[in-house]
């Protein structure tokens, strides 16, 4: 038992030395190290392709590319093609459907992994409600999303809500396809 314990300690010390050695070998890497859990988690939702194709395959760093793209991207780039997926609603409804809950479960996992992110949840409505009532309906949608994420263990301090009613349509069209895109809770990452 004693021998086993010292063996374990020895392995641990060797492991630390290896890590230290590795770190010493690569001083110019400026980006923050990816969170340790990342390599073991098999299935984050498929993130966007990096903005530009990698030109020289030999230069691909050994770290997992996906997580890199997310943690090194600027806020602008992140929000342009956000890893946090919006949830969509039926007309005049602010309750969360099962599909929306699944999307939010995935968003919640990302928010847990990138625990420094602060996020604004925007509530949006289509043009078929009145401009005035839609302000409150959008707020209700945003609050429903925040409450669900808080129930997953995300700190409420990281989740601001704002309603834009029907002032910022994502699709300017006037048909059901456009309306469906405009009834949503949309995530904007405001700090990382």
């Amino acid at each position: 038992m004693k021998a086993a314990r010292s063996t374990t300690m020895l392995i641990a010390v060797m492991a630390m030395m290896t890590v230290a050695a590795c770190a010493k070998k690569n001083p110019p890497v400026a980006r923050p190290a990816p969170p340790p859990a990342a390599t073991n988690t098999p299935a984050p939702p498929r993130p966007p392709a990096p903005p530009e194709p990698v030109r020289e395959p030999t230069m691909v760093p050994p770290e997992p590319v996906r997580d890199d793209a997310i943690s090194s991207a600027s806020l602008d780039d992140l929000n342009k093609n956000s890893p946090l997926k919006p949830v969509f609603y039926e007309l005049d409804i602010s309750d969360l459907s099962a599909a929306n809950q699944k999307t939010l479960d995935e968003n919640g996992a990302l928010l847990k992994r990138y625990s420094s992110w602060a996020v604004t949840v925007e509530g949006h409505c289509d043009e078929r409600g009145t401009a005035e009532y839609n302000l409150a309906l959008g707020e209700r949608r945003a609050i429903a999303v925040r409450a669900y994420l808080v129930s997953l263990g995300i700190s409420a301090d990281r989740l601001r809500t704002v309603s834009y009613g029907k002032e910022f349509p994502f699709d300017p069209g006037h048909d059901e396809a456009a309306f469906a895109k405009n009834r949503r809770a949309h995530f904007v990452i405001t700090a990382k």
């Binding site: 078929r128 409600g129 009145t130 401009a131 005035e132 009532y133 302000l135 409150a136 002032e167 904007v188």
Partner: protein, 452 residues
């Protein structure tokens, strides 16, 4: 001191016997710009028929001639807007010799056209701008029923003031020619800064009641929406996102100053301020206690009071003319409907049973009505609820979607948003739904209000 108690009927008889009581008889003909005025009536109870020829330019320079022409045309439009007079069409005026002064007005010829009243004006260039003399002649008696002089420089302003004074003296009516509109607009095509692309900012605009002189009021580079005129016409309250979330702001448009009514992180979202009739308070909707409720606050942000308490959405407040009640939208019954409650939060009553109703606007006295937007098919139509009879009447009928009605200060007109011509634009119409006029054309223009 001895007191005499005179019975009412006797008092009236005594007054009638007094020589002073006979003053309302037509005064002697006067060519002088005095304050005297009498009224001109049409024949057989019809609306008086007026002619408004171009004003007389007393000097031949182009500026004076142009001003004289503009005043005549704008005055014609202003008077026509209230539909209190019948008008002899302007295209037949050419057949009548033009007067060169008040002394050579061809009354016989105007009488042949069956005119009851004739508006004649002169425009004289002076150092500071123009001096304008206005006469309304009774064509039959050739006497001046209304005479007044004006100094200024803006042709349209001359006409607006004259129109309101003529309506007041001739029809005992408060005209709206000097009133103004306000609305939000994305016409500048400017985009929000920030990480989400392609979002148009909206700014507050004002315009004359007829759509002229459209001017931008705010420079927030953000969403500034749903403006409301203060009762004195000097300030505009609105919802602004310049602090991130929605807050109440007041632009004092003649001082160029900005007041923040709601501040801080702990006050939730704050929407849709509505001025109390005395201008000292604002009713609005806020999520500061977790759910959209109606509150009243002093215009400086003090004295907050909560009026509603319900897990549903309560939003879009409007005051009654005496400031004792508030109408608002609530979905507590399942769909958005109009409710009325006392400013003390008591005596709540549901007023509509539409499929979806929002944006109540209480009419000014003497009307006792609430205008609102009601879902009808795919869009909305403007409806008016008569609070004394409970009857509801539609004013628009599916020409695009029609939202956000607000009454003119005399209650005879409404301004509203409609998509009937494509994008969302501001329109005005008479209280019977007729006389629809498009006010805006560029960009999207929405959520209008009419000055008090």
């Amino acid at each position: 001191m001895t007191k005499f108690i005179i019975p009412g009927a006797l008092a009236v008889a005594l007054l009638a016997a007094w020589p002073h009581a006979q003053q309302p008889t037509p005064p002697p003909a006067s060519q002088q710009p005095t304050e005297l005025s009498t009224t001109i009536s049409g024949e057989g109870g019809q609306a008086p028929r007026l002619a408004v020829p171009d004003f007389i330019a007393l000097s031949p320079d182009a500026e004076t001639v142009a001003t004289a022409k503009t005043i005549g045309q704008v005055l014609w439009n202003d008077l026509n807007f209230e539909r209190e007079f019948a008008f002899i069409p302007r295209d037949v005026y050419a057949s009548i010799p033009k007067a060169t002064s008040f002394a050579d007005v061809p009354f016989d010829r105007w009488r042949e056209l069956n005119a009851d009243g004739l508006i004649v004006g002169t425009v004289q260039k002076v150092n500071s701008g123009f001096h304008v003399e206005l006469r309304l002649f009774n064509v039959r008696t050739r006497q001046s029923a209304f005479a007044r002089g004006y100094d200024g420089s803006n042709a349209r302003l001359f006409a607006h003031k004259m129109s309101d004074e003529l309506h007041k003296s001739q029809r005992a009516l408060n005209g709206v020619a000097q009133s103004k509109l306000t609305f939000d607009s994305d016409r500048d095509g400017e985009k929000m800064k920030g990480t989400v692309q392609n979002r148009s900012i909206k700014e507050i605009y004002i315009a004359d009641y007829d759509g002229e002189n459209q001017k931008r009021v705010t420079v927030g580079q953000t969403l500034n929406i749903a403006p409301r005129w203060s009762p004195d016409g000097r300030s505009i309250a609105y919802t602004s996102y310049r602090r991130g979330g929605a807050h109440l702001f007041i632009s004092n448009i003649f001082q160029g100053t900005l007041d923040e009514v709601t501040k801080g992180d702990k006050v939730g979202e704050n929407w849709l301020p509505a001025w109390s009739p005395d201008g000292t308070k604002l009713a609005f909707s806020s999520t500061r206690d977790g759910n959209p409720e109606i509150y009243i606050v002093n215009r400086d942000g003090t004295g907050l009071r909560r009026i509603t308490n319900n897990p549903g959405i309560d939003i879009t407040p409007t005051w009654n003319p005496s400031g004792t009640q508030i109408a608002f939208t609530s979905d507590r019954s399942g769909s958005p409907q109009i409710y009325v409650v006392g400013v003390d939060g008591l005596n709540l009553s549901k007023k509509t049973s539409e499929s979806y109703a929002d944006r109540p606007t209480w009419s000014p006295a003497p009307f006792n009505e609430i205008a609102f937007a009601s879902r009808s098919g795919p869009g909305f139509d403007v409806k008016v609820l008569d609070l004394s009879t409970g009857a509801t009447k539609a004013l628009t009928f599916g020409e695009g979607t029609n939202e956000s009605p607000a009454f003119s200060p005399n209650g005879r007109h409404l301004v509203f948003t409609s998509t009937r011509s494509g994008k969302a634009q501001v329109f005005t119409m008479a209280r019977d739904g007729k006389n629809v006029r498009q006010i805006t054309k560029a960009g999207n223009n929405e959520k209008p209000d009419w000055s008090k």
